[in-house]
């Protein structure tokens, strides 16, 4: 906690404007937040609220001809918006993304192994074919994938969504992440595997002290993992605060509506996820 001074991620007055055929659309409007070491911050909102655009904008993964970014985004104290080249320094080295839909997230014509080794190579800590191979095995074992050697030779289409998400987490771990951006990491998955993925994320975060920016529409997920929750609506944060406060004493009607979508009991609810995921 002593390193709280320089936040892993510090965002101030961040806006994303999308230049579409229909005109300029301010998808993210002046949001500010910070994530300290080992902290998990969640942005929650309905689909279309701008939460995913926030995440992708922070990582500068939106097409340049589409999105105009403004404000300040500091990763470990360095403003990556002022100097667009700066973000490449962090990508794959300390900064990692866990995407929404694991089924479309990997190169379909390359093996799991080669993509994992590629990530290990980018991280740059390990050289040598043999060492990279054993690191790949180690990473897959950490995300609890069975019969690792066999999986490494497979192509993405041969694995299930849950398995692929584990692979993607392993790829994220290859970068020795200090900040992990998880963009609805379970929403595209079967309810039966969602729990496993969330468990894994929680465990990794706790054992390694990784800071996490969690994007979700599910208040159950948010409550389970977060220290701080920001509620997003139409591109703005309408309510922010410690997880317990947001969940137990929401100030805004919108937040109450999000809450009421989930039965109060239990850690998180599967059926509501399905219902919402489908919308």
């Amino acid at each position: 906690m002593k390193e709280q001074d320089t936040a892993v991620l510090e965002v101030s007055n961040f806006s994303v404007e999308l230049m579409t055929d229909n005109g300029i659309f301010k998808a993210v409007n002046n949001v500010s937040f910070r994530i300290g070491h080992g902290e998990t911050v969640t942005i929650i909102g309905e689909s279309g609220s701008g939460k995913s655009t926030t995440a992708m904008g922070l990582l500068q993964l939106l097409p340049q001809g589409l999105a105009a970014l403004s404000g300040q985004v500091k990763i470990k104290g360095e403003d990556v918006l002022a100097n667009p080249k700066a973000i490449t320094k962090f990508r794959g080295r300390g900064l990692a993304l866990i995407p929404q839909d694991p089924m479309t997230a990997l190169n379909p014509v390359a093996t799991i192994g080669s993509q994992l080794r590629e990530a290990i190579k980018v991280a740059g800590r390990i050289t040598g074919k043999q060492q990279m191979q054993s690191k790949a095995v180690e990473l897959l074992e950490q995300v609890r994938i069975p019969r690792v050697e066999e999986q490494l030779k497979k192509f993405p289409h041969q694995l299930s969504g849950g398995m692929l998400q584990r692979v993607l987490i392993a790829i994220a771990l290859a970068s020795e992440p200090e900040l992990l951006v998880a963009d609805e990491p379970t929403s595209a998955l079967d309810v039966t595997v969602q729990a496993g993925i969330l468990d894994l994320l929680l465990e990794l975060q706790q054992t390694r002290g990784i800071s996490v920016l969690m994007i979700t529409h599910d208040i159950g997920v948010a409550r389970l993992v977060s220290d701080t929750i920001h509620v997003m609506k139409s591109g703005k944060f309408i309510e922010s605060g410690p997880a317990a406060q947001i969940v137990d004493a929401p100030a805004e009607e919108y937040t109450r509506a999000l809450l009421s979508a989930v039965p109060r009991l239990g850690e998180w609810d599967e059926t509501s996820m399905v219902a919402k995921g489908a919308s």
Partner: protein, 308 residues
């Protein structure tokens, strides 16, 4: 998703505290795409009109009769003696021959597209709507035709049945219907899953009526986008047939024939091949550009609708 501030092609006037500058807006993908489409549309329209208007007005223009020979004025270069495009080996005015030849070429092209469009839409929608054996048969025929020595077959048919305008039109239509049929089939496959088709079936409407009155009109607009591209192809195909001697016979002198005739004089009279060829190129480029632009525009419009 309704906080639209302004159109990207206009300046953002109400953009309170917007970081988007005019410059960024101009360079945005949306604006650039729109600009490309607009330029293609204009260029295509101009090129097409440059060729089509004189052809349409050929009978009214003060030009010589295309078949009037003047052996004293053989192979005059362009601009000599009032012949804008020069004359051919029999002293006939080349501009007049190109314009009147173009009437035949265009007429065949349009007719061929109408015929191939009709065959393609009907067979394609039957394959898509009824499925099963109808689909199997039509799709097989489509596939088979794709792997056929097409130009050879067309030449053969023309050689056997004579190079009359109906035969040539029919031959070009046969060459082109698969493209329309494939497109229509895939459109109908999507369309038939829509709720209104189910509703109509539940109401007990006969399938044929649903297809003819509802499904086909709905896919027709999208399918019709290929018409311009087909027309371009048809003009090219006709000119190739004519060049090989399998085009309409005298008195019709289509572009391919003009080029074929002029070929013998290419070293001394470049215009006899070059100018008719340029006419084809300008027309086909224009029509293709128009087709491209309309398709781009349509894609964007449909993506806009989905975005709402």
């Amino acid at each position: 998703m309704s906080t639209t501030i302004s159109n990207p092609t206009q300046a953002p006037q109400s953009a309170r505290s917007s970081a988007v500058t005019k410059q960024m807006l101009k360079k945005s993908s949306a604006a650039r795409r729109a600009r490309s489409t607009r330029i293609k549309l204009w260029l295509g329209t101009i090129l097409t009109l440059v060729v089509v208007v004189p052809i349409a007005l050929a009978n009214l223009l003060p030009i010589a009769d295309p078949n009037m020979q003047d052996l004293g004025a053989r192979r005059l270069a362009p601009l000599v003696d009032g012949h804008l495009f020069g004359t051919d080996q029999l002293g006939r005015d080349l501009l007049s021959r190109v314009l009147f030849g173009g009437q035949t070429s265009l007429m065949i092209g349009v007719l061929a597209v109408v015929v191939s469009g009709a065959i393609g839409v009907i067979l394609g929608s039957i394959a898509g709507f009824y499925g099963k054996w109808a689909d199997v048969i039509i799709s097989r025929v489509l596939e088979a035709q794709m792997s056929l020595p097409l130009l050879m077959m067309l030449l053969l048919v023309v050689a056997l049945f004579g190079p009359s305008i109906p035969v040539i039109t029919g031959v070009i239509a046969i060459a082109q219907w698969p493209e329309v049929a494939r497109l229509t089939r895939s459109l109908v496959l999507v369309e038939r899953e829509k709720p209104y088709v189910d509703a109509a079936k539940t109401l007990g409407l006969p399938k044929l009526r649903i297809l003819a009155q509802h499904v086909i009109p709905n896919v027709f607009k999208q399918a019709s986008l290929v018409i311009l591209l087909l027309l371009a192809q048809a003009v090219l195909l006709e000119s190739a047939l004519s060049f090989l001697g399998a085009g309409p016979q005298r008195p019709f002198s289509t572009w391919g024939r003009l080029i074929s005739d002029g070929q013998d004089y290419i070293t001394t009279s470049w215009w006899m091949v070059t100018l008719p060829g340029l006419f084809i190129v300008i027309l086909v480029v224009g029509v293709n550009l128009l087709g491209d632009a309309l398709r781009d525009g349509n894609l964007r419009r449909s993506s806009k609708k989905e975005g709402k």
